[in-house]
Amino acid sequence: MPLNFKSNVIKFVRYSLIISATAIYLVPILYMLLGSFKPDDHVLSGIFNKLQYVAEHYSLQNFRDVFERVDFKRYLANSLIITGCVVFFGLVVNAMAGYALARFHWQGRKLTLTIILAIMIIPMEATAVPLFYQLSILGLRNTYVVQIIPFIANAFFIVLFYTYFLSLPKELEEAAYMDGASPWRTFLFIVLPNSKPVLASVAILSFLLQWGNYLWPLLMVSDENVRPLSLAISTFYTLPPLQWGDLFAFGVLMVLPVLIVFIVFQKWFVQGVVASSHKA
């Protein structure tokens, strides 16, 4: 009996720790979610405060307000276009780069790989200002292009692809060569279909990074027509009157697409992280 009691206490302590750690991450999200349904003047009165009241008076008014006060659909479309392009072209470019590094022998291959690894440690913020000047001179401010181009090639994703391709059995590609396929077709018809896990990982990571990208559009974009959600939520915050309920509703709307992408690709994503971590 005492033994059982002791193990129960340990269990209790263990789960309490886990639950409180989880709460630290979940409470803000819950706060946002609940707040988005509350009347504006009740939002800041605590998370669970007046829950009874909210349960009776919950409304979608805040969501309606977001669409009325700003051109949310425009921002959403901008974000989808920019992120979609970055994800798609990023997959193409980074996969091809990783494949060239993993499978072909060319002069300067090792040096290139070293440089790419080195680039991984340079944060975007460090090069943001020079990049700002460079692209301003080219007259690219306030365009989609300027929000897409700098994020397509990504050192980290190239390394992810590189390590994954190294782990693929080489015989598959050699068999394809023997079967009459060119290197290009081999990549397209044999390598890529067997790389779903890493493709999914890179797609999701790239989507997440780009969806929340704030600093770069802040520097490059002032035109509302090409403004992405990440920048729009901060300008929405400065738009009087300050209504917390509307802001929370905006946040919920912004998170939804990410959640959908993640749920759809979750299975492959986990496989991909496991697969590339095995080799790396």
Partner: protein, 370 residues
């Protein structure tokens, strides 16, 4: 299609010499087996034929035409890989069709070729399954099918049976021989298993450390091995190799403190025996040429171990005379009839049938009639 390898050398980037001046002709429609221990360069040679690697020097000629500048996809050569390398994301049918799609064959011709191969290899029952759903033997057949469906000029097999269990291996071995006779495509087969080599090959090339030791029919490899390596490698167990000193005056070989008359070998070896009196020789003795007796005739030996194989016994023996150097390991092996049994640890004597002796020079070359 006849194939010629002319003075092929291959040295890898890390300095490893995989192939050393290989000259080899493969006849039209022949099944040639490349055999040797791992690391002997046999798979490298196959990859050179396939075009997956390039030789450091030398020339490869297909039907009179040099192919060194042709990529694998231009050579029309098919290959079966050791691990089969079936495309995991494609069904068996799609795997078989892939080479034809790459050839841009029209749909009707594709279907025709597919049907031929499916019948030839009895693949009907699992055409729509994925490779991971197949057994080892089935995968093996699909891999053969994918190679044959293109009707290649040259058919390469890289240890195709090594992932199968012993029984299936014997079965598929006979299937491959029959199939090769039927389709009559020039075939090169790589294996490390000398039994496979002897049973499959019309001719067998034995490689060691990147050098061609001997290229001959299986029976010649067994009866007249060109080097002491081939003698020991071919046959199971291989030939016993014992160092001896030759005395030309009375034509005897001195093994430790014992003398063995080589007179019966004169017919076979003739003048080559007499060229350098006092020379060191390596005597090659097949396990079946050794006679064990308890009558104190011949060399004194001790029985170390005995293996009962059912129809025969293998007796492992060691010389009592410690001055005898054995090239082929610590012990020598005798093959005796099933009824003959010796207790481990007993002292017995062994005599040699001198007409069945093989003589090699100190560096392992077979002595031959001059």
């Amino acid at each position: 299609m006849p194939i010629e390898l002319r003075d092929i050398c291959k040295t890898f980037d890390n300095g490893l010499k995989a192939l050393n001046h290989i000259n080899l002709t493969i006849y039209q429609g022949e099944l040639l087996v490349l055999v040797g221990p791992s690391g002997c360069g046999k798979s490298t040679l196959l990859r050179l034929l396939a075009g997956l690697d390039k030789p450091s020097s030398g020339d490869i000629v297909f039907a009179g035409e040099g192919v060194l500048n042709q990529a694998p996809q231009q050579r029309n050569v098919a290959m079966v890989f050791q691990n089969y390398a079936l495309y995991p994301h494609k069904s068996v049918r799609e795997n078989l069709l892939f080479p034809l799609v790459m050839q841009k064959l029209d749909k009707q011709a594709q279907q025709q070729r597919l049907n031929t191969v499916v019948q030839l290899l009895s693949l009907q029952s699992f055409l729509d399954q994925r490779p991971h759903q197949l057994s080892g033997g089935q995968k093996q057949r699909v891999a053969m099918g994918r190679a044959l469906v293109r009707e290649p000029r040259l058919f390469l097999l890289d240890e195709p049976l090594s992932n199968l269990d012993a029984k299936l291996r014997t079965q598929i071995r006979t299937e491959i021989t029959a199939l090769q006779k039927k389709i009559n495509i020039t075939t090169v087969y790589v294996t490390h298993d000398q039994v496979e080599a002897m049973t499959l090959g019309q001719r067998v090339a034995v490689l060691k450390d990147g050098e061609l030791q001997q290229l001959d029919e299986p029976s010649v490899l067994y009866d007249k091995p060109a080097t002491s390596f081939v003698a020991n490698f071919i046959g199971n167990p291989g030939m016993n190799l014992i160092h001896a000193t030759y005395n030309d005056q009375d034509m005897t070989a001195k093994i430790g403190q014992q003398y063995l008359s080589l007179k019966p070998c004169e017919m076979e070896y003739g003048e080559s025996l007499h060229t350098s009196p006092g020379q060191e020789l390596i005597l090659g003795i097949r396990p079946e040429a050794l006679n064990l007796n308890s009558k104190k005739a011949g060399l004194a030996v001790k029985v170390i171990a005995q293996e009962n194989l059912g129809h025969e016994n293998l007796i492992y023996i060691q010389f009592n005379d410690t001055g005898i150097q054995i090239e082929s390991g610590d012990t020598i092996v005798a093959r005796v009839k099933h009824e003959v049994q010796f207790e481990v640890g007993t002292d017995v004597h062994v005599t040699v049938d001198a007409t069945k002796l093989h003589l090699f020079s100190k560096n392992g070359r077979r002595l031959s009639k001059l």
